[in-house]
Each structure stands twice: as structure tokens, then as C-alpha cells.
């Protein structure tokens, strides 16, 4: 089977906007958090962010978020899905205004 190449939009699944990430965004060197494809690497994320948002990336941290146990209706037990998180630090002077909103 032919392996499909990931596009930039396949790599960056969604930005994570929470209380904590919005604090990270407000720093001098802003950090933006994304859910990324499980196949994505630091390099791929850097390339995708630079291309899509026209910014310069200083570094990328990637981590796999482990599934957490979840209980439904007191008797059913399960787990939340596992996903990959990337925290992208931009070079000084760059911002992604679309995500600060």
C-alpha cells in the first residue's frame, strides 16, 4: 500500500486554547500548543507552523499524552484517547495573532 504524505493541515490537528496555554502565549517568546498527528516529528511540526503562520520557530517540544482512566455511569470503565501534544516556541518578535484570539 502506498504511504500518503502528511500535509501541513494533517500535522497540526488543532490548537489547544486553555487558561494555561493562553498564559504561555502571552510570554515574551510566545509558546503555542497544538494537538498534532501521532506520526508528526519535531521537524514536521516546525515546518508546518512556519509555513502556515509565516513565523520563525525557535524550538518544538513534543509529548505523548497518556490515556487517563474514565468511569461512565459508575459501572463502565474506560480510558480517554491518547494523543500527541506539541508546544512550539517562536523566536522573539513573532506572534500568531490568529491563535491568541
Amino acid at each position: 500500500m502506498k504511504e500518503r504524505k502528511l500535509t501541513y493541515h494533517d500535522i497540526l490537528i488543532r490548537p489547544i486554547i486553555t487558561e494555561k496555554t493562553s498564559q504561555l502565549m502571552a510570554q515574551e517568546k510566545p509558546k503555542y500548543t497544538f494537538e498534532v498527528s501521532k506520526l508528526a516529528t519535531k521537524g514536521m511540526v516546525k515546518e508546518a507552523v512556519e509555513h502556515l503562520f509565516n513565523v520563525k520557530v525557535e524550538k518544538v517540544n513534543i509529548m505523548n499524552v497518556k490515556p487517563k482512566p474514565k468511569r461512565r455511569f459508575s459501572l463502565q470503565y474506560g480510558r480517554t484517547r491518547t494523543w500527541k501534544k506539541a508546544i512550539v516556541t517562536l523566536k522573539k518578535g513573532y506572534r500568531i495573532t490568529e491563535l491568541e484570539a
Binding site: 489547544i16 486554547i17 487558561e19 493562553s22 491568541e100 484570539a101
Partner: protein, 417 residues
């Protein structure tokens, strides 16, 4: 905040209010705090959504909130209870907020002196004499002798008719018999179709409201009404207690005066209030009338209302009346210390309950559930109290109808000269 009055026309004012950058920031913080108490966003603890996120998520709405808060801030310096309506527009220029306000304040009403007003009513004697004449005619009609007649029916005759309703699909109702007096009147088509017909004639009439139904009216008998002469024997016929016609007339006169007193008690306050409102002067801007008219036309289910001149003129008059009536009543009530206290309200509720065949407790429970209805009743009660107060102050003049016409004629002549 810098405010500038751009235009003033009676109760209408146009303001431009400018908020500088710092003031806008303060307003933004206020809006953020306000929205944080009402919104929740996943990923944020309650009340912790940052301003930037709210701004971006709400966009234009966030700006509208700022404008509303700015308006409230400006209104702190003015009397909010005096606002009839307002139009608000805003724009942001380099972080500065410019508010354009069109304020329609509650217009002033100049009240006339009730003592200077006169209420004209028809003379009591004339009204009572008219009542006696009508009562005697009714009694004559009641005591009329019906004599079968062969010729065609005329106005004033009594006819016995049989009516059958027929539907287009062939169904028909049971025949019913009625006895009616053929009275002449501009709106009495039914009688007009029977006049000129003879006994056993059948008339087909269309139904007034239902096109599918036709009425089959058969003339069973025509009677001539022989009305008794108005003399002493007629008086005895009405009641054995009356010896002469004069006795009967005297008794009717007494009833007439009693009814007249009741009528005056209800009529004079109403007419006094109408006269008072007519003479009150409303100091209102045309722009306010236009604004209210525009709002009421939005609700009215009419196509192209601005093309119908008569409709528009009537609507304008209605808008002025809508403003003038409550303002006049409220101002008079406050100037004359007319208030609705518990005792008056209790009495009013009891009166209403009796009219609607219910108990005052049930009516009170209903009013507690429907504040709009309660407001309507309170304003109606205040109107009643004001009308009664005015009735005791205005001059009441008894004037015959022909005297009024003469006065009118003289005025007309003097105007011409």
C-alpha cells in the same frame, strides 16, 4: 469622557461622547468581568477567560458590549428614568470610542387649569323628556294589538316567518318560526327584503357570513300593529296603579332623573378627562414621533405603510395620543397628590371581581401571576381617580344641541369677518 451636545429639539437631543484609550481599556475590563460571570469556555476555569480570547470569540458583539457599558457610564450623569427611547451607534478610532447618542427624553406636558375648562352636557330636562317619549313608545309597542293583514308587508308591521337554512350540498336545517317587527334602518337588509311581500311568499336570501348557506324565508302571516292611543286608559293598561297619563309620565320622569344621575356620574368624569387631555400641550419633537411611528410600523402588518397617507396620518395621531394620555394623567396625579392606596385598590378589585363573576381573592392571585395585567389595571384605576377629581373642578354647563349649533354658526361668521 468628553461629551458634546450636537443638537437639541424640545425633548430630543443628539450627543457625541468620546472615551479615550484608558477609559476604553477600563470598559473592556468591565465587559470581560461581566462576560466571565455569564460565559464558560472549555479549558478555562469559571471567570478566568482572558480578554483577548473573549474579544476574538465575540468580535463585533464584544464592541457592542463596550458601547453599552459606555452608554451606562454616560447615563450615570443623567436621569435614566427620564428616557423614553434612545438610539445608539458607535465607532472605534485608534483605540478611542466615539458614541453617537440620539436621546428621546420623556416630553413635557403643559397642563391646563381644570377650573378654566367647561364640559357641555345636554340639558337634564331635555334628556328626561326624551327618555319619557322613548319609554312611552316602547310601552305602546308592547301593548300593540296585532291584526292579520292581507296586503303586502310594510315597515312597522309584524311578520311571522319560517326560516330554513340550506347548504349548497343539499343539507337543510329544521324550520324555525319567528315573529319580528319590520323596522326601517340603514343596516336592516333583512327587513328590506321582506317589505312588499305577501303572506305565503317564499324569499331566498344569502347568508351574511357563510357563502355556502342560503336562507329560505317563508312569510306565514303579516300583522298590522295597532298601537294604543296615549291617553288615560293606556296608562291604566300599563299598570292599574296609574289613574291618568300624567301619573304614568310622572313615574317615568322620576325613573328618568334617577337614571340621569347614574349616567352623569359616569359620563361627566369621562368627558372632563377627555376635555382636559385635549387642552394639554405636549412639547414633543417631530423626531421622537417619527421614531415611535417607525417602531410601531415595524410591528404593524401592513405592506408599504408609507404610501398610504391617511393611514400614516392616523398612525401619527395615535402615537401622539399614546404619549399624551399617560403623561397628562400621571402629571396631574402627582401634582394633585392622587395616589392609589391599598384601600382604593381593594375596593377596585372587589368591583372588578363582581363584574367578572369571580372572587377578589381569585382575581388577586391572577394579578400576582400577571404583572402586565396588574400594570394595566393600575393605570386604568389612576385614570378613573383623575377623571373623578377633574369632574369636581371643571365647570359643567347644560347646553341644548340647537344652542350649540347657533354658537358654532356665530363663531364661524366672526371668523370669516
Amino acid at each position: 469622557m468628553e461629551e458634546k451636545l450636537l443638537e437639541r429639539d424640545r425633548n430630543y437631543e443628539e450627543w457625541q461622547v468620546v472615551f479615550n484609550e484608558q477609559e476604553v481599556k477600563k470598559l473592556e475590563d468591565k465587559v470581560t468581568r461581566y462576560l466571565n460571570t455569564r460565559l464558560s469556555l472549555p479549558g478555562f476555569r469559571p471567570g478566568r477567560i482572558p480578554k483577548s480570547i473573549l474579544k476574538a470569540r465575540l468580535g463585533q458583539k464584544f464592541e457592542d458590549y463596550i458601547a453599552d457599558f459606555a452608554y451606562s457610564e454616560w447615563m450615570e450623569k443623567h436621569d435614566e428614568s427620564n428616557v423614553l427611547d434612545h438610539e445608539l451607534s458607535h465607532e472605534f478610532k485608534d483605540g478611542v470610542l466615539v458614541l453617537n447618542l440620539k436621546m428621546h427624553w420623556i416630553p413635557e406636558v403643559e397642563l391646563p387649569k381644570p377650573e378654566d375648562l367647561t364640559v357641555e352636557i345636554p340639558p337634564s330636562e331635555e334628556l328626561v323628556e326624551k327618555f319619557i317619549r322613548n319609554a312611552l313608545e316602547n310601552l305602546r309597542g308592547e301593548k300593540a294589538i296585532l291584526e292579520p293583514k292581507e296586503g303586502p308587508a310594510e315597515y312597522g308591521d309584524v311578520v311571522e316567518i319560517e326560516i330554513k337554512a340550506k347548504v349548497k350540498n343539499g343539507e337543510s336545517s329544521e324550520a324555525k318560526t319567528y315573529q319580528i317587527i319590520l323596522r326601517e334602518g340603514h343596516n336592516n337588509d333583512f327587513a328590506a327584503q321582506i317589505v312588499g311581500r305577501k303572506k305565503d311568499d317564499v324569499i331566498h336570501m344569502s347568508h351574511e357570513t357563510d357563502e355556502n348557506v342560503t336562507l329560505e324565508v317563508k312569510l306565514l302571516q303579516v300583522y298590522r300593529r295597532i298601537l294604543p292611543e296615549l291617553d288615560d286608559s293606556f296608562a291604566k293598561m300599563v299598570d292599574e296603579g296609574f289613574e291618568t297619563l300624567a301619573d304614568l309620565e310622572e313615574s317615568l320622569r322620576k325613573i328618568g332623573f334617577e337614571k340621569l344621575e347614574v349616567f352623569k356620574k359616569e359620563f361627566i368624569p369621562k368627558i372632563a378627562l377627555i376635555e382636559f387631555i385635549k387642552n394639554a400641550k405636549l412639547d414633543v419633537s417631530e423626531k421622537t414621533i417619527d421614531r415611535l411611528l417607525e417602531k410601531s410600523l415595524e410591528k404593524a402588518d401592513k405592506k408599504d405603510p408609507y404610501e398610504d397617507e391617511e393611514f400614516l396620518r392616523n398612525a401619527r395621531e395615535e402615537v401622539v395620543r399614546y404619549l399624551k394620555v399617560p403623561l397628562t394623567i400621571n402629571k396631574y396625579a402627582s401634582e394633585n397628590d392622587i395616589e392609589i392606596n391599598e384601600e382604593i385598590f381593594e375596593e377596585y378589585v372587589e368591583r372588578l371581581a363582581a363584574n367578572y363573576s369571580t372572587t377578589s381573592e381569585r382575581l388577586k392571585k391572577l394579578l400576582a401571576k400577571k404583572p402586565d395585567l396588574l400594570d394595566d389595571l393600575l393605570s386604568e384605576l389612576l385614570r378613573e381617580l383623575v377623571a373623578q377629581d377633574l369632574a369636581g373642578k371643571v365647570a359643567i354647563i347644560e347646553k341644548a344641541a340647537d344652542q350649540k349649533a347657533e354658537d358654532g354658526g356665530e363663531e364661524g361668521e366672526s371668523n370669516e369677518s
